[in-house]
Chain length 315, copies 2
């Protein structure tokens, strides 16, 4: 049997892997960082070289592709990338089908990761689930009745831009107090910076300030998590707000759709046990008492999009 | 061909109708108000008499039932009624199947009305839709892939208890600033009362106060709408907040599930053109620009649950 080729166009990295049908270990695996100043052409060139290095002359039975940005899944056309220029309206599915002569399927990374967790990870046996990634951004992907649910214009899953605090800080999307504005890594860093920049708080956030040697621009979501774990008061407040926002969002989704399981992945979910417990507690308080609610960590880690791409390819 | 029997156990009224398969006009129709101090037994007794008056000895091919409260649709067992005592765990489907000897299907009124609008109303041809009723409460029902979506514990659709203003007024559910707490008729009346009871506002809300002859306890959502139409400042603010809350909720749902259509029914939707335009505008601002969004009024009016019951019966 021919192997399946899985591709992951992330915002900052490219990965490709081959797996034999029915197997759960990669036969071959390649990845590399996307170069600074990459555009769609350089990303495609690098991906081609990864693919040829993997295939070594063999032909795959099918190609599944996870793309880090909005995709028209019905045609496999990339709408754009928020990280890499030049991806506007690139017919990625057609390009790959023509080049490799095998059936190719393309979808955005959150939908694909949801499918990956459903087939191979924390969602096995759960016919309705919502996968949420909390990382550079906050995105989500649905599996309903055992199938991806993409919505009328392919935009379903955008929990990141659900408003949970209408008097909260301004999000890039133009609204105030979106889940992403409070919960994502970069925005956590910004929120900590904004509090630290306030001179009235001189005697707070000392651990956080030490971690970045007083260079607030080098603050990251990860450092906020670390400082919180070490007892920094400002970092703890920022992290708590992140978990609260996500918890309200999840509780609202539970009331609306009541999926069997919520699966949480992405770097911010590695923050701390207290982050998780605030998420769980807030979601439970936001959902009606009669609404069942189950929130678990993702199982596939960074490989979720690649395994999802395998599932997407129909294997 | 035998007719279909459709039943509607509302919170304050009972209705029953017979229709011949494929027809869009009731063959026979009966309704009556639920008596004061009704319980499940009296409601069932009244419904029996309506049914016998309709059937006059004929046997229906199937029975579809809309119930105004949470229902386990897999077994057709009523969980409870928030309006009428004694409905706890009543196996309504089994009762009716045994009594009339024909297949019976039971679901809650929002799900049934959604199905009714899908099959016979404003949702025809829209395989994914969210029906919202804004009336005594705020509830919702899903049709996804052309089928009712009820969720893992049958509780999907609860947009009424989505939090849109975490610093807003306290809802009966224990949370603050739920959609229902701001948008429903009775809560609009309460919000107007609370503002009017504030002595600092003596020179405001005069139209509203005249409408109720200074008896604030007789205020209703309908009167708030009327006073707003006549230019009352407080009534307009309350109505605007209702529309805003619902608009945020709808925008959030569009981001999450991106259904083809939202269909709005219930008494509050009859408020005014300005209520509708605030709903439309707020929902559009809350949804991401790429998310398609279409919000239309329900077409079936008070008969939506009965027509939905016909659809539910599989006809």
């Amino acid at each position: 049997m021919k192997p399946i080729l899985a591709l992951d166009f992330g915002g900052t990295k490219l990965a490709a892997a081959l797996v034999n049908p029915g197997e759960r270990e990669w036969w071959r695996y390649e990845r590399c960082l996307s170069p600074m100043n990459a555009d769609a052409s350089t990303d495609l060139e690098i991906m081609r070289s990864l693919i040829h290095s993997l295939l070594q002359g063999t032909t795959p039975s099918a190609i599944g592709v996870s793309f880090g940005g909005p995709v028209d899944a019905t045609t496999g056309t990339v709408k754009l990338s928020h990280h890499v220029p030049g991806w506007e309206n690139i017919p990625l599915q057609d390009l790959l089908t023509a080049e490799f002569g095998v059936p190719t399927t393309v979808d955005n990374d959150a939908n694909v990761a949801a499918l990956g967790e459903y087939r191979f990870g924390a969602g096995q046996g759960y016919d309705s689930l919502f996968y949420i990634t909390i990382s550079t951004g906050v995105g989500g992907g649905w599996v309903l009745n055992g199938k991806p649910w993409r919505g009328a214009s392919g935009m379903a899953g955008e929990i990141g831009h659900m408003v949970v605090d209408p008097s909260g800080p301004l999000c890039l999307c133009g609204k105030q107090g979106c889940v992403e504005r409070l919960a994502s890594g970069p925005y956590m860093a910004q929120n900590a910076r904004d509090i630290l920049a306030n001179r009235a708080k001189l005697h707070h956030g000392t651990i956080l300030k030490n971690l970045v040697a007083d260079d607030l621009n080098s603050l990251t979501g990860k450092l906020v998590s670390e400082a919180a774990a070490q007892g920094d008061d400002i970092a703890q407040a920022v992290l708590q707000k992140s978990a609260w926002a996500l918890g309200v969002g999840i509780g609202n989704v539970a009331n609306l759709i009541n999926p069997q399981r919520f699966i949480l992945g992405g770097s911010v979910t590695k923050a701390s046990a207290s982050w998780w417990s605030v998420v769980q507690k807030t979601a439970r308080e936001t959902a009606l008492p009669e609404v069942s609610l189950e929130i678990v960590p993702a199982a596939l880690g960074d490989d979720a999009p690649l395994w999802g791409a395998v599932a997407l390819s129909g294997q």
